[in-house]
Symmetry: C2
DNA sequence: AATGAAATTTAAACCAT
DNA sequence: ATGGTTTAAATTTCATT
């Protein structure tokens, strides 16, 4: 549960955010840190849950054509319960508790409109605590970045290599 | 710009969604597909933008505490331009064109409230085509999944290994 | 906890089908 | 597009500081 990263950790994360398969040796050459140390650090980051190296597939290209963002209004005091329950559903890929006009925002990934309809009209109404839902269908995805923040992280004393901070599938939208 | 994946592609994606650094040789043994073919396929998936292998850092553990979803109303015909431009900003991690009350939805990751304020009040207004913005601050993130859909993809004739479909940082909310 | 050097494993390039 | 083979490179292990 360590939360304190040093500049080396941040540099390693920044590099891996761009390319999760960069070899430790290349990272070593790029940073001047010994390869075995790079590996040691990365392993620690992974084990602590701070960093995950994963394959990310563009849902719009793999047959899951219907992405929707859904804003939910919940009964007072029920929003967290709603979050917990919706997190368990396979269709949800993003569930957060928010301030503002909606209490909960959810991203739902469906194969097609029928799949979404079933989700919205059969599944959601069964969930206790939800008052209303507003659907935002995703027409085009311009940026789906999973590399957060480290690229322009607080003061990098190790000397920044000027890497791009985030990883997008492509410059152009995917439809 | 191929969009048609076969079952082999889907299996490779499913495996890499769980662990982006699995060696091609291991994948080869697991699937029975020759290692050179595995590499060839993965390379194609990456080059076509279908799959990305990236390091994902938990923003709430690396000092980027302020996540916000922002719904934007745009001038008629300007929404795509807005998407393109906002995608270029380092603070945005998610930019999509939507139907519904908002034309564009954006996820913004900031270090602190001051950083977000600067983004919302200094940077956004300079962008042509935006009429209005509504902020949903993320209080708690319950699910941040990067593995989309493939886990329960349409009929897998190659014989599914029963891997977990998605990768969440944690079951409980991160605050 | 971090590093260096060894042995082992893996990936990349190539070529044939 | 696939599969095999070889060469070069990277990872892992383990001893050392």
């Amino acid at each position: 549960m360590k939360t304190d990263l040093d500049d080396i950790d941040r540099r390693l994360i920044a590099i891996l955010q761009n390319d999760g398969r960069r070899s430790f040796k290349e990272i070593s050459e790029e940073t001047g840190i010994p390869a075995s140390s790079v590996r040691y650090r990365v392993q620690r980051l992974e084990e602590s849950g701070t960093l995950q190296i994963v394959g990310v597939a563009d849902p719009l290209r793999i047959g899951f054509d219907r992405l929707a963002l859904v804003g939910l209004k919940c009964e007072m005091g029920k929003a967290r319960l709603v979050c917990e329950e919706l997190s368990k559903l396979p269709e949800t890929s993003y569930v957060v508790l928010t301030t503002g006009p909606f209490d909960v925002m959810v991203e739902v990934v469906c194969r097609d409109v029928a799949h979404y309809t079933e989700f919205l009209h059969d599944r959601l109404p069964k969930q206790d605590g939800i008052i209303g839902a507003e659907t935002f269908f995703v027409l085009e995805a311009y940026k789906l970045a999973y590399g957060w923040g480290v690229g322009d992280a607080p003061a990098d004393s190790t000397g920044d290599a000027g890497d791009e901070p985030s990883a997008e599938p492509e410059g152009a939208p995917t439809t």
